[in-house]
């Protein structure tokens, strides 16, 4: 199995409001096509870890490899490119650009990547929306659709550049059980059918139990 993500001795200290070591010497790895969830109590550092793994937080010590490439210590421009091309991110809140249409939101990261033409991107985006069953919402302004739909749009956006890994920070945290199931099924399908790796932070026991592997965290360590 190919290692898709590897963390070596990652530590992080919060200096404000007081000095707390939020992550203590964390090492783990995950393989291609694996569906992993991270669980733990509030404040155990799981979200912080996820942000570091997603390259959005650069203020830490230790080494991070994505697809066997060292990510730690790279320039922010390089990291932006990595996020754009290799990582899809789904937040607890959907984080869509409110005044853009659903389609435009999904297309945005691909436009940034700039490999495909506008028509190809549009076609891809519609494909993703169809995959998630919301192609009929494509031309609506993204603030005008329901919460479950927004989260699916966010997933479509995460998928648009065919990333190597999808990360989620409580992607179902704001959803009812019906929508949670829909989102879980989508993730499951992506992992098995498209061999995508998924790393999801969650509070939801039921959700976590159905993933391939659960990483439990407590006080900044993996237990």
């Amino acid at each position: 199995m190919k290692k898709i993500l590897e963390a070596k001795n990652i530590s992080k200290v919060f200096k404000i409001p007081e000095e707390i070591q939020i992550l203590k010497d964390i090492s783990f790895s995950m393989n291609e096509g694996e569906f992993v969830s991270i669980m733990g109590k509030s404040g155990c550092g799981k979200s912080t870890l996820l942000y570091i793994l997603s390259t959005m937080d650069t203020d830490y010590t230790g080494e991070l490899y994505l697809d066997n490439l060292l990510i730690s210590g790279q320039t922010s421009d390089y990291l932006s490119h990595v996020r754009n091309k290799h990582i899809g991110f789904v937040f607890q809140f959907h984080y869509l650009l409110a005044e853009f249409t659903v389609l435009e939101n999904v297309m945005l990261p691909a436009k940034k990547l700039g490999i495909k033409s506008y028509q190809e991107i549009e076609h891809d985006a519609m494909e993703k929306l169809r995959l998630l069953g919301i192609e009929d919402q494509a031309l609506k302004i993204s603030s005008r659709i329901s919460g479950g739909q927004k989260q699916r749009v966010a997933i479509a956006r995460a998928l648009i550049n065919h990333p190597t890994i999808i990360m989620g920070d409580e992607p179902t945290g704001n959803l009812d059980s019906k929508n949670t199931n829909i989102v879980f099924d989508i993730f499951r399908e992506l992992a098995t059918e498209q061999n995508l790796s998924l790393l999801v932070v969650t509070h939801d026991d039921d959700f976590a139990k159905r993933t391939d592997r659960i990483i439990m965290m407590e006080d900044g360590r993996i237990v």
Binding site: Y51, M56, T58, H81, R83, L97, K112, N161
Partner: protein
């Protein structure tokens, strides 16, 4: 990227800032120009005439044996000289041909009295070439009744000072008798009323034709007492006046000397207008900066989204600066239009004052310079207003924003 309503508000902030600047500059400089014109338009840049003054060299100064001695002369009296400018006609010809001269006009000044029954009023009659006076010193702007052209057609006409007319209860079309020092009496038809706005002038000054003035004084038609010169560049007046004085052996008064106190007032007004313009720009600049700044901080959420989906700091900065500049250009152009529109409104607003008989509305100038400064300033200030926060947004880690939610 920016919500429409907020962008409109930000652009309006720019619009009002720049609009106000344009209006204030146009209006203030219009008023300044009016005040300047009050004096400058009717004053020649160089005034040539014969001054009655004592000779600089007294006979004893020329007597050689006393050359190295200290000499005292008591009770020096001025030399008797003619008011007439010697060789005036060739002189005028010569001056009109100079490159630095816009125009030369001649006057015959005649001390005289206005006769009204048994009363005599002191008066100053200026014999003028009406067309030249109109062209160079806008004499027509001070004619409240009648027409300046009638004086041209009628040698026996007079543009009577409004104060004189009031004192003698005369009106347009009436006849007035004037007498000169030499005793010549003439009946002149009032073809116009002259009002400069300065009572002491209007109570004395009247205009007649040059021929009539010469006739009143009993002089021939080469009798000229004053030559007025309008220059292309007013600031050169003192220097040229000095040269002319030496060359023509005449007294030459430049406008700066003639109106020293006015010069001071004028430069103070210029200073005030600079101060106001700088203040306005600073206030407008801070307004623009604040509005855009707030707009960008409200957009931190979107910045986080963009960064999380792979936009680099440079992209974010580029987006925000370009947005800011678009707001600056749109707001700035609207500001120019608003400034122009309100200027036109003010320009058409009624404004009447006794001092300025021909001014009916507020004076406003439309100078391209202020419009250019306005739009450039709008763009520069919006650029900086976009630049600094976007610089911050460029550096910030997206998680810092997301975690702050």
């Amino acid at each position: 990227m920016t919500r429409k309503k907020q962008s409109i508000i930000a652009a309006l902030g720019v619009t009002f800032g720049i609009g106000t600047y344009i209006i204030m500059m146009g209006f203030m400089n219009g008023l300044n120009g009016l005040l300047d014109g009050l004096i400058l338009n009717r004053t020649p840049h160089i005034h040539l005439y014969n001054e009655i003054e004592p000779s600089i060299k007294q006979p004893i100064d020329l007597y050689r044996p006393y050359k190295n001695k200290t000499r005292f002369v008591h009770s020096i009296k001025p030399k008797k000289i003619q008011a007439k400018i010697h060789n005036a006609l060739p002189l005028i010809d010569y001056l009109s041909k100079q490159k630095y001269v816009i125009g030369v006009s001649t006057q015959v000044k005649a001390q005289s009295f206005y006769l009204g029954g048994s009363t005599q009023l002191n008066g100053m009659l200026s014999g003028v070439d009406v067309e030249k006076e109109k062209e160079l010193y806008s004499l027509d702007q001070y004619i409240v009744e009648g027409s300046i052209l009638d004086l041209k057609q009628n040698d026996k006409g007079i543009l009577l000072g409004a104060g004189v007319a009031k004192k003698l209860s005369l009106k347009l079309g009436d006849y007035i008798q004037v007498t000169s020092k030499s005793g010549e009496v003439q009946a002149l038809k009032i073809v116009g009323l002259y009002q400069s706005g300065m009572a002491e002038v209007d109570n004395v000054q009247s205009y007649i034709s040059i021929k009539m003035a010469q006739r009143l004084l009993g002089e021939s038609n080469d009798y000229i007492t004053d030559i007025n010169i309008k220059l292309k560049d007013m600031t050169k007046a003192p220097e040229l006046a000095k040269k002319m004085e030496a060359k023509f052996e005449l007294k030459a008064i430049d406008i700066q000397t003639a109106n020293a106190q006015f010069e001071t007032g004028s430069s103070i007004r210029t200073l005030i207008s600079y101060a106001v313009s700088i203040t306005l720009l600073i206030v407008a600049g801070f307004g623009i900066y604040n509005i855009l700044n707030m707009l960008i901080y409200e957009k931190m959420n979107d910045i986080a989204i963009l960064k999380a989906t792979g936009f680099s700091g440079r992209d974010v900065r580029y987006i925000f600066i370009s947005q800011a500049i678009i707001i600056g250009i749109v707001g700035g152009i609207l500001g120019l239009l608003m400034g122009y529109g309100v200027s036109v409104l003010i320009d058409n607003a009624k404004f009447e004052t006794a001092a300025l008989p021909t001014i009916k509305t507020f004076p406003v100038i439309y100078e391209l310079k202020y419009y250019i400064i306005g739009i450039v300033f709008a763009m520069v200030s919006t650029f900086f207003a976009g630049y600094f926060p976007s610089k911050k947004a460029e550096k910030i880690d997206p998680v810092d924003i997301i975690r702050g939610q």
